[in-house]
Symmetry: C2
Subunit: 263 residues, 2 copies
DNA sequence: CCTCCCTTATTACTCCGACATATTATCATA
DNA sequence: TATGATAATATGTCGGAGTAATAAGGGAGG
């Protein structure tokens, strides 16, 4: 009798079925996490523009097929990352781009989930070309013997596997992580976690479009030698050219890169 | 009946009262936001160390005098910022410091809510001494006439009010923000929002402990002139010395600063 | 005609209680 | 001892009810 009091036919008791539907990233991902991912990518891709007001909680949650609790928790995540802000009566609206925590690893991942904005990629590489040489300089001054050993191991792994394999790319990240860690600057380490992730995405782009155009080992060796020799200026210089070359490779693999024409 | 089952005397139904307590940002602070602030500062201050497991949802929520929903939403915020991670049956545990999004403005505010860690302050200034000169260099290359006008206005405001007033400090932030914005690099703008906030806290420290030891205007004028003249190298150099001087001032105002003795 | 205050309606916010799910820990068995 | 099934437990999800805050509209006063 009371089974169909609403008459909506469908709905009401199918929680687990569509939970994995959205993105289907498999295990370890909760419903509200998947929801945050879904909404986050929608915002980053411009599907919801800054200033837009999202549908009300009740309507939108039902539309997405989730409970209000799960929806609200997802919104809290987006709020925590500066993407949206909610106020009673006014609703939940997308904030201006300046308010977004673009360096948050998860936000970065959402930004690269779709077609990445070339301007933003340029900005990230520019930031990288500032941070990493400075970190290499500090690392040359402060590195311990343990740091050098880790870097050498990572370099060896890079040589064994190439950048065409996942193991090789992982070793590459380990190498850069080791440098950041050796810099003794926690803020830079955190920043590298963000930039490194972004670089990881672009590296995949490089692989996708062309064969590896350059052997990256010599550049890395120069950086390693300078840090091992405790030569700050050489380390900064070597890292600077390494990033520049990586930028060049990435640029050539992205079709319509805005060739820095401005005054 | 159920009003005093725990016997904690206080609490239970005074949500708006403590909302404005924390930093006093005024209105707009909800219960789960205040909770996140409370737990966030507790974690940043070391009250909950990495690896620690928080009490269960039901127990902890009751202990804090809030519903499970509000508690969970607060935890989602902390999770979004990389402070904690939850898994069924395993509980919610504090993650390692490397996982924390230390550059998140809110996390930064939590870090400076208590006694700030001098090591971390040093790291932030070090990062600032890398970012801001680079931003000034880019600004000198890319600034528009509008950017120059904004910077000039901010500089004038700095002159009128001094750094002893809130209006003066606000103008100072406007000046630096204008430079970052003129750099045309979105990533650096976002980063400045974080660092700028941190610098703001330390500036308050400076004011607290001593009178203003130095007139900051000349340094700023040098930076402004170089950017207005589109001289990248001069802009970077001027900004570099500006940050160094600010660092020196801050260092002298914090009692036991580790005097950088290492090799 | 404009300004200011008050009323009202809408929306997010908070709470509650139940069930589902995932993971760990335990125990029986080979 | 090793390994599998089993049970215990904490997080995850759900639905609904009531509260509080705020934006919008309307009325009184200038």
């Amino acid at each position: 009798m009371e089974t169909s009091e609403t008459g909506d036919a469908t709905t009401k008791k199918r929680p687990s079925a569509k939970a994995t539907a959205g993105t289907g990233h498999g295990p370890g991902r909760r419903l509200h996490g998947a929801l945050a991912h879904k909404l986050g990518t929608a915002i980053l891709s411009g599907q919801y523009a800054p200033g837009d007001v999202l549908p009300g909680e009740v309507v939108f949650a039902e539309e997405l097929g989730v409970s209000r609790s799960a929806y609200r928790e997802a919104i809290q995540v987006l709020t925590a990352k500066g993407l949206v802000a909610s106020r009673p009566k006014a609703g939940t609206r997308v904030l201006a781009r300046e308010r977004w925590n673009l360096l948050d690893p998860e936000v970065l991942a959402w930004a690269f989930a779709g077609e990445p904005d070339v301007r933003f990629v340029r900005d990230l590489f520019e930031l990288r070309s500032v941070i990493e040489p400075a970190a290499a300089r500090l690392a040359a001054m402060r590195r311990s013997k343990d740091d050098v050993r880790i870097m050498r191991d990572a370099l060896a792994a890079m040589r064994r596997h190439t950048l065409t394999t996942e193991a090789g790319r992982s070793a590459d990240r380990d190498f850069h992580d080791a440098i950041l860690r050796a810099s003794g600057n926690q803020a830079m380490v955190v920043l590298s976690a963000s930039i490194g992730a972004a670089v990881h995405w672009t590296t995949q782009f490089k692989q996708r479009s062309r064969e590896l155009p350059r052997n990256p080992i010599p550049d890395h060796v120069r950086v390693f030698d300078a840090i091992a020799a405790s030569d700050p200026d050489a380390a900064a210089e070597a890292m600077g050219s390494l990033v520049d070359l990586a930028l060049e490779d990435t640029r050539s693999s992205m079709e319509d890169w805005p060739r820095e024409k401005r005054a």
